[in-house]
Each structure stands twice: as structure tokens, then as C-alpha cells.
């Protein structure tokens, strides 16, 4: 291979162009083009009282000081709710002793299929029904599943539309737990 200057320059030029292109594409992977920043991010999470499947109710003011994961789901939401259910349970198992609460809110569903869903996935975190749909309206829930991550001060930090994974949630929860200002766990 004869190395003549024009050839070297041509090679360098093309290589540089290609590298720039690839960098731009890699950058592109880190953005969500469809993301309209939800107006709820950074705001106080709306309070509610949730009737639980196990009986009794869960009132959100009681959760202040803890990191809260609110998951809106339904038994007819295939396959995404079926994908993420084990992940949510694992998050609950992993973090419940560290001051994290996972709350399931069942919307637009029927009692029997919802209970079956919970039983099949052996879910043990608090799970209840948004009977009148008010909670989902307050949170601007459009479809299922949607998951909200709330910090110790009650502010909505993140909203996920679609199935979440244990890794994604864990990576966002850890910094919130390390944040030592405010109430104790």
C-alpha cells in the first residue's frame, strides 16, 4: 500500500467525518425525542387516600420522609405490566428496609382480575384501587403502566411511561436515599 500524501489526507478527512457522525449518533441515543417534559416533575406529588385490596387504606401524608415509587397498572395491560411486575416486587424486597415504599395503584380494572394479577406475581407491597379515577387524573396518567418516583420531601423526581426495570429504578433510587437532608428514614 503506497502512502502518498493525497491518499493519507483523504483517509484522514473521511475518518474524521465518520467519527463526528458516530459521535453525534451516540449523543442522539441519550435523548428521548418524544419527551415533552412533564409539568409535574419537580412539583409536590398530589396527596391521596388509597383503598387497599387487603383492606384498610393508605394515606400518602404518612409516607413523608420516605422515597415512594407509585406504579399505575392494570391486569389487561399486556405485556408491559406483566414484564415489570417482578421488577417492582424485587425493588420492594430490596429497599423496603431502607426507607422506600412501593405503592401499586390499579386503574380502570375489575376486582377479580386485579386480585388474580397480584396473586400470580406474589406481590406484597401495598396495592389498591383508584376507584373514581381521581388519583390517575391528578397525576396526569394517560396509559398504563406509568411509574412515578417521589423523593423524601414529596417532590416528583421522575416519571416513567412503559415498563420499568429493577436496574432503572435502583439507579434512580440510590441517589435519593443518599440525600441526607430532610426527614430521617
Amino acid at each position: 500500500m503506497k502512502l502518498s500524501w493525497p491518499r493519507v489526507w483523504a483517509g484522514i478527512a473521511v475518518a474524521a467525518g465518520a467519527a463526528v457522525l458516530l459521535l453525534v449518533l451516540v449523543f442522539g441515543l441519550h435523548r428521548d425525542p418524544k419527551a415533552i417534559p412533564s409539568p409535574l416533575i419537580g412539583r409536590q406529588a398530589p396527596e391521596f387516600v388509597l383503598p387497599l385490596f387487603d383492606g384498610g387504606t393508605l394515606a400518602t401524608p404518612a409516607l413523608h420522609g420516605r422515597v415512594v415509587v407509585i406504579n399505575f397498572w392494570a391486569s389487561w395491560c399486556f405485556p408491559a405490566c406483566y414484564e415489570e411486575a417482578p421488577h417492582l416486587q424485587r425493588i420492594w424486597d430490596r429497599y423496603r428496609d431502607r426507607g422506600v415504599v412501593v405503592v401499586g395503584v390499579n386503574i380502570q380494572d375489575q376486582d377479580r382480575p386485579a386480585r388474580d394479577f397480584i396473586a400470580r406475581f406474589e406481590q406484597t407491597f401495598p396495592n389498591g384501587v383508584d376507584r373514581l379515577g381521581k388519583i390517575s387524573i391528578d397525576y396526569g396518567v394517560y396509559g398504563v403502566p406509568e411509574t412515578f418516583l417521589i423523593d423524601r420531601k414529596g417532590r416528583i423526581v421522575h416519571k416513567y411511561a412503559g415498563a420499568v426495570t429493577e436496574e432503572t429504578l435502583a439507579s434512580e433510587i440510590e441517589p435519593l436515599l443518599a440525600d441526607a437532608d430532610g426527614a430521617s428514614p
Binding site: 418524544k34 415533552i36 417534559p37 409539568p39 389487561w76 380502570q108 396526569g140 396509559g143 411511561a161 412503559g162
Partner: protein
């Protein structure tokens, strides 16, 4: 000699091309803003085609079937912008949800939307219950 002519021709062609493309792009870039950003721009924003994204404020939707005028307000938690659009609201368009409109801001502060691009999200609906 022939080589120089060729290179010169190539440079001229490339130059014309770049001029066309850059000029063309500049005229066709549509910036994306939020209500707060739009209001912050003040009078300089009037007349420029842009995209405006925010939440359709609950209670703001007004639809006149006769004149086909759809009015609503887009907000982002800090500021709101009134919007008017001629034509039936797209099916995904509901209050409390996000929407992006493309159009121009009028001198009267009302944003005239030529098109409404509603945020596309996973769509689910429960089966008809017995």
C-alpha cells in the same frame, strides 16, 4: 491544467451546494419552546414559525363546531399561552395531557397553531367489562 480546472469546478459546485443547503436549512428550522421560554422572548417571538409544547390546561378547551375554532391554553407550570387552531381537535387531544403545536405567535399574544402534534404514548384501553 485539466486537473486544476476540475478541482475548481468541484469547488464551485460544492460551494453552490453548501450555500443552497445552509440557506435552505436556516429558513426551515423550527425551534421548540415552552410557554415560559416563549413569554421570556417577548415581542421578538412574534411572527416566527415555531413549535410550542406544554400541558393542555384543564378547563381551557373550547370547541366551536360551526366555525371549527378550537381554543385552549398551553401551560408548563409557570406560564400559559392561549392557542387557537382551525380544525377539529385530533383524537389524542385531551385536557391535562401534553401537546405540541406548530404555528406562530400573534401580536395579540395568541398563538395560532397550524398543526397540533399530540404526544404519542402507549395506548391501552380496558376490554368492555360485563
Amino acid at each position: 491544467m485539466k486537473r486544476i480546472r476540475l478541482v475548481l469546478a468541484a469547488v464551485i459546485v460544492a460551494g453552490a451546494l453548501i450555500y443552497l443547503i445552509v440557506g435552505g436549512i436556516r429558513g426551515a428550522i423550527v425551534y421548540y419552546t415552552t410557554p415560559s421560554e416563549l413569554l421570556a422572548q417577548g415581542p421578538s417571538a412574534v411572527g416566527r414559525t415555531m413549535r410550542l409544547g406544554g400541558q393542555v390546561m384543564p378547563g381551557s378547551r373550547r370547541w366551536n363546531g360551526g366555525t371549527l375554532d378550537l381554543r385552549f391554553t398551553l401551560g408548563d407550570g409557570n406560564a400559559t399561552v392561549p392557542v387557537i387552531h382551525h380544525g377539529a381537535p385530533p383524537d389524542l387531544f385531551t385536557e391535562g395531557q401534553g401537546a405540541v403545536v406548530e404555528g406562530t405567535l400573534g401580536a395579540d399574544g395568541i398563538f395560532t397553531a397550524r398543526s397540533i402534534i399530540v404526544k404519542h404514548s402507549e395506548e391501552y384501553r380496558p376490554p368492555q367489562s360485563p
